[in-house]
Symmetry: C2
Subunit: 384 residues, 2 copies
């Protein structure tokens, strides 16, 4: 009896073969290819999550993050999850039941902000614009005046549309109307200009796997004192234990109280990725992204392919190229993957089938990648 | 003006030195050392999170997880976060406002389950026992009869106390009283016997960085049809977007709808860690953990050090050794770290200063590690 009870069932004991992954050039909306130095850091020997050597390298990451974001925020941390977890961390902590939250919705990630905010009890108001367009300062001002939100949420770089939201004046408006300014910088951080403090952004998050060229699984998050003050005034516990900033602050702050086990190796990788940003310099890095995007846009024009977004608001890190008439978007993606091992992506949501999304992010923003993609795309369109 | 506005602030542009981490033998409560093959897998070249090659290896992980847990559950996935995220995923999805949730509290992680469940609106009832003790089937039955919970939450292997909860009969009781059985297997999966289906466990979670010898940052989660049915009957959205299983099921299931970017490299690592479990075989692996724990316990006895937990309920993967009179717990930990680069941990919560926590988990459960630790501990006690 005892023996039968303890007998191991072998049903699911598959023994798949040794891990080998195909070599891809990842020119979609992310993940982008990991920088070789980041990969090396990822494999560094692990230590405990309260080891002084670990706390030291995370403190270095925090400082490098402040540089990348151009912020002095003390509370600047790596969240133990993907960019979506850091997005949720912002809302879970700042939103209290009934708070009016105004979201700029001009793409998929604005939609997601609405969904998340509503789950935390927000009274969500939408400021809408066609996918691919951006909001003017006047539209923002009208929205804020109408809705008087506690929080304004905007996507700086919409990965679903390739549009770059101009920042001028919005933060000041938020201060004037005593509203927190939340910014999604997932596809801008480390690739295109971000000046959090100058823009009066109160809380922001990003991803690791876009312009930082680090694997996914860790996500930058920052909050200033205005945001922390709103959290400090909460009357209820944050309805999310894993992402409760008051608990996380005790670990990442000076107390070093155990909360959860931080992803050790992912933190090594993030630090190396941020160090690469600091070594190159933000100005140089932004110029490189801009220059390679320019080559891409000119090359696409030569192939007769238009960009969805107006040149003035076009994102250097992610281009939405309009699929020409009589070309099947999906077939071209498959062709590129099968013949060139290049990944680009189709459109999300209402842009499905209408655009390709081409990312030139971080380490991948290199002239040779652009030229290779243009040649391959030319061939793919001819052959499919 | 434009130029001043776009000038990069160099304040936080630190350029820390090349990443070098000390070599530690991690014999605390986790993370444990990563298996060399897992480390190699972690550094494998990345692909997109919708790449067929990625979906294939995750499907292999899912099957290997079923083997490790001894379950047929279709819904068996890696959560993109630490074990605490998988813990929260269970509660966020299964708890609805007002649900009575009965938690066995005999250590830190039982306490955490109470905290989390309350954040999701549960009417939390506590079944308490001294730290280091376990619940009898009679105590469980009495608790269930009194509280008639919708969910019973138990910790199989309490990492804070080193106690192993006997499973016999509990799951059957839960079925009888129409209650979901939630089990924390963070410190048992891959190290000591777990038979989820035979024990009638409805949902369970674990961590990667304990007996699986994988880095932290990804966490196994499984739910059977009873648990999924309760989720399916929810009247409200899961108040947590990142961990909403109905959304995750669309990604990990057949639809492959984009939810968040999965941690690619961490998934490589988890697959390799699970493959190592399958190659060794569960029976052999459990025996190895038991045998090395036995050597540790006998060695501790020879040093005059007692174990907190009764031999019958003592966890092979994590031993709580009682700090002898006149010995300073912290000084010994520091001595081991400074002189031997060995990490063991002190007690958590009410056991702080009273016990050491010694982990022999996964790859680290090796005879040479036990002998090294015993010698070092002997020396540390003599010298501090």
């Amino acid at each position: 009896m005892e023996q039968r009870r303890n007998k191991v069932d072998e049903t699911h004991r598959g023994l798949p073969s040794q891990l080998t992954m195909p070599c891809r050039l990842l020119l979609g909306p992310g993940p982008s290819n990991v920088h070789p130095r980041v990969r090396a850091a990822l494999g560094m020997n692990e230590v405990g999550h309260l080891d002084p050597s670990f706390l030291k390298i995370v403190a270095e990451s925090q400082e490098l993050l402040r540089y990348a974001w151009q912020t002095d925020n003390r509370f600047t941390i790596p969240v133990s999850g993907s960019g979506s977890a850091a997005m949720e961390a912002c809302l879970a902590n700042c939103v209290e039941q009934g708070d009016v939250v105004l979201i700029g919705v001009n793409g998929y990630f604005g939609e997601r902000l609405c969904d998340m905010a509503a789950r935390y009890g927000a009274d969500v108001r939408r400021l809408e614009k066609s996918w691919g367009e951006v909001f003017s300062l006047e539209e923002m001002a009208a929205g804020i005046q109408t809705h008087r939100p506690a929080i304004l949420g905007l996507v700086h770089a919409e990965t679903s549309t390739g549009a770059l939201q101009p920042m001028e004046g919005i933060g000041k408006l938020c201060r004037e109307f005593d509203c927190l300014f939340l910014l999604d910088t997932v596809t801008s951080l480390g690739g295109i200009p971000v000046f959090l403090d100058r823009w009066h952004v109160d809380l922001a998050y990003s991803g690791s796997q876009k312009c930082l060229s680090c694997p996914p699984g860790i996500a930058p998050l920052t909050m200033n004192e205005r945001a922390l003050a709103k959290i400090g005034r909460r009357k209820t516990k944050v309805p999310n234990w894993y992402l409760d900033m008051s608990l996380l602050d005790k670990y990442w702050g000076n107390e070093r109280t155990y909360h959860h086990t931080a992803p050790i190796n992912m933190n090594y990788a993030l630090r190396e990725a941020l160090l690469l940003v600091a070594e190159e310099g933000l100005g140089e890095r932004w110029e490189r992204h801009q220059e390679n995007a320019r080559i891409l846009w000119e090359g696409l024009a030569e192939l007769g392919i238009e960009c969805l977004v107006d040149r003035d608001y076009r994102l250097a890190s992610l281009t939405t190229a309009v699929v020409p008439d009589k070309v099947d978007a999906k077939s071209v993606c498959s062709y590129l993957m099968e013949n060139y091992s290049i990944e680009i992506a189709g459109g999300l949501g209402q842009l499905a089938g209408k655009v390709w999304r081409i990312g030139l992010m971080g380490f991948n923003s290199r002239r040779e990648n652009v030229l290779l993609l243009l040649s391959a795309l030319d061939k793919a369109i001819a052959d499919t």
